[in-house]
């Protein structure tokens, strides 16, 4: 879950770690891994976590359908807003609640694959697990992330990873997607000067 705020843009040295074709290849591989791991994709339901998990899930769904045209039955794709399940609602600005879209017949007995852009502390995933619990009882929940940047604070691990990206805590990882940002790229930014006091790690950045 990426936040929109990116203060001090000027003092951050950014470098590209994944290009558009890199992202596309990673998603193609993840799509095949999902099919392989689940021995087909007939029960799979991809749930993108807004904001950038949603276009990623949409792309994964298209790739899975390309291989298995009847994957997921009528609904292979949904989205899961976790805002109201966060444990940090008392901090920062008021967060906009986004839509949750699940199949009309529910998520019971489906294999839910959560899709997010950056996996960092694991708190978003924890919130997502709570949200899923209120929606139904899936057969299994799996986790796909385009980037795993480490520094987990909860016992959570991804099942499908686009790229493992070793980072330091004060760096920021930003996923740009054409649907939202106009371009496909994963950018890692680090502060050029360390003398401006302790840097608070930003959400997914």
């Amino acid at each position: 879950m990426s936040s929109e705020a990116a203060p001090n843009q000027g003092s951050w040295a950014a470098r590209n770690v994944m290009s558009g074709p890199d992202i596309d290849r990673a998603l193609t591989r993840i799509a095949h891994e999902i099919i392989e791991r689940n021995k087909g994709a007939s029960d799979v339901l991809l749930l993108g976590i807004p904001t950038r998990g949603v276009p990623l899930a949409t792309r994964l769904a298209a790739k899975i359908r390309h291989v298995e045209p009847d994957a997921g039955g009528t609904d292979l794709l949904g989205q899961l807003d976790i805002t109201m399940y966060r444990d940090d609602l008392h901090h920062g600005p008021v967060r906009t609640v986004k839509s949750t879209v699940i199949p009309p017949e529910g998520i019971d007995d489906r294999i839910v694959v959560l899709v997010d852009d950056v996996l960092f502390s694991g708190r978003t995933v924890r919130a997502a697990l709570d949200a899923i619990k209120d929606l139904g009882r899936p057969r299994a929940v799996q986790l796909a992330a385009l980037v795993d940047r480490g520094h987990r604070r909860l016992p959570i691990r991804p099942d499908y990873v686009g790229k493992n990206l070793p980072t330091s805590v004060d760096e920021r990882v930003k996923v740009n997607l054409t649907e939202i940002d106009g371009t496909d790229a994963v950018v890692i930014a680090q502060p050029e000067t360390q003398d401006s006091g302790p840097v608070v790690p930003e959400a997914g950045q």
Partner: protein, 339 residues
């Protein structure tokens, strides 16, 4: 937005944001598990100095659906009936750690005093004060109107597809006892902020002094107004006979005459445009301001208004009780980490 006291305080962006949040809250209320953990551990106080059933229950339901703890304080059977002042009540609530106070009071301005006198740190939500304002009612009316009339196909309800939209271009007629109606005041300001064109229709005796300064048109003739305005939505107000001294109270000659001139009957319902919807804040006086045919017609959204009331109040509680300003006590040093 720190408190919700009056719809005239709301900017267009704030109003649309509340309606958008309402749409998401309403979507969660169609699930099997309706309860969300969002406000767990927060305490919401319902402070009702005036009788109310639906507003109090609606707020209570909304708070409980968000997992907040609710304390109901009504004037009857509490120290309030022993003559305790509003200030002392507020200090008591503060001492008990209320995170939000929902207040209904017979005096206009009581919520403002509670919010600004410095007795209380918590956000204050006005649930109706005297003849002044009833913002959550206006918000649920606006939400209901937007849902029905701003979608791709007019008349087909759509909650999520209208997210981000205001009410520009809509014509709304509000009919009845404007003088005693906080719902009318709240609606005039909110609907005009949202870009709708509002026309008030009322006998001259039931219009307040200064109504010409409100952002709306005024008419004394319902039939003329229906024909000229061609409203997309018509809102019937309750004739508040308990606020009029004797029967009619000199505001109009007889209930029958009021019904003939200002009541919504089947004939007037038929003269409304095809897609028009009928609203009423409730409780209805069937046979007085609205006939049973109009109240029960498929174009009436009166029952839906009650359901939307819960979602609107969830949205207001969510927006006022989360975020930095709501922290109240110790701020978390590294609060933003997440992924």
């Amino acid at each position: 937005m720190r408190h919700l006291l009056s719809t005239s305080d709301l900017s267009l962006e704030e109003a649309v944001r509340i309606l958008d949040t309402t749409a998401q809250m309403a979507a969660t209320q169609e699930r099997e598990v309706k309860k969300l953990p969002t406000l767990r551990g927060r305490t919401v106080v319902n402070l009702f100095f005036e009788d109310s059933t639906r507003t109090r229950i609606s707020f209570e339901t909304a708070a409980k659906r968000l997992s907040a703890d609710v304390i109901n304080f009504s004037a009857k059977g509490s120290s309030l009936s022993k003559g305790e002042s509003l200030k002392d009540t507020a200090l008591t609530l503060k001492a008990m750690g209320a995170d939000a106070v929902i207040i209904r009071h017979q005096a206009s301005g009581a919520p403002y005093t509670l919010a600004h006198a410095g007795w209380l740190d918590a956000p204050v939500i006005n649930a109706g004060d005297g003849t002044h304002q009833h913002p959550t009612q206006a918000l649920l009316d606006a939400y209901t109107i937007r849902r029905h009339l701003m979608g791709e196909t007019m008349g087909e309800p759509d909650s999520i597809g209208v997210v981000g939209k205001d009410l520009s271009g809509l014509k709304i007629v509000i009919v009845g006892d404007v003088l005693h109606s906080r719902v009318a005041r709240a609606n005039v300001y909110l609907l005009s902020t949202l870009g709708a064109q509002v026309t008030l229709v009322s006998p001259p005796t039931l219009l307040p002094v200064g109504v010409e300064t409100w952002p709306c048109q005024i008419s004394y003739h319902l039939d003329e107004a229906i024909d000229q305005v061609q409203p997309d939505a018509i809102m019937m107000l309750r004739v508040q006979r308990e606020r009029m001294s004797s029967a009619g109270g000199g505001f109009f000659p007889s209930p029958l005459e009021y019904t003939r001139i200002y009541g919504l009957d089947a004939k007037r319902l038929g003269r409304l445009p095809e897609h028009a919807i009928v609203l009423h804040p409730g409780p209805m006086n069937r046979g007085l301001e609205i006939s049973a045919q109009a109240a029960d017609s498929p174009r009436s959204v009166i029952v839906e208004q009650v359901a939307n009331g819960v979602a609107v109040r969830m949205a207001v509680l969510y927006l006022l009780l989360t975020g930095e300003s709501s922290a109240g006590t110790a701020a978390h040093p590294t609060g933003k980490e997440n992924s």
